[in-house]
Amino acid sequence: MWRFSRDPVICEELVQEVFVEAYFSLKSYRAQAPFLHWLRKIGTRVGYRFWKEQAKTKSHMPLTDFDVIETKDADAVDSSVAAEILHSLLGRLPRADRLVLTLMYFEQCSTREIAARMGWSRAMVKMRALRARKKLKTIAERENLLEKLGWIR
């Protein structure tokens, strides 16, 4: 759930919601797939729903706030800072696009897995990923991401 909110308090609430929802939906678990897959599906949907509620109070952290990233050495950049930047960048995308790219970038999910988790068709996920990447590229260029990420060569 850390991929859906980087606020520890909200993250805890989301984890709680996932387990409570899982408990009350245990009847629908048919044991055809591993339990973890089923739980992940619930987690993804809870997170996706959270983004919908969050969209009403949309606020982005500007990339200029990440002064740490203006460094020449890749190893000097903390992985959590990198995750924070990516989270902030993805947060500028529409909800569905954001979900597809979040699962792809953070969890290395395939289009098949994303489709299974959300109940979407695989073609739809592929199309969404393509469009989302284009949008993300535009956003990143507008934010001068490449200049800031001097350590990426």
Partner: protein, 87 residues
């Protein structure tokens, strides 16, 4: 470098992030307990409502014949007048 490749590299770095852990076991069991209590209360209310509806329909069935025989008390004033010739 292409922007998308830079983002891929950023993602690669981001995946190495150590995700914080949290313990919400107590809160989960509390919430489940509270919600189950709520569900039980709802079932009791449901049972009571069904029972009331059943009793009401039985009473309604028997009182229907009585209801049919009821007439307005005012009808007695008008009933004889029906036979009176006005001219």
């Amino acid at each position: 470098m292409d922007t998308l490749k830079a983002i891929e590299k950023l993602a690669q770095r981001a995946r190495e992030e150590k995700i914080p852990t949290c313990d919400v076991a107590d809160r989960i069991s509390q919430q489940i307990g509270a919600e189950e209590e709520g569900t039980f209360g709802f079932i009791v209310f449901d049972l009571f409502a069904s029972l009331s509806a059943l009793v009401a329909s039985v009473v309604g069935y028997f009182s229907l014949s009585v209801l049919k025989s009821l007439t307005s008390p005012l009808m007695q004033f008008f009933a004889p007048l029906q036979e009176v010739r006005l001219w």
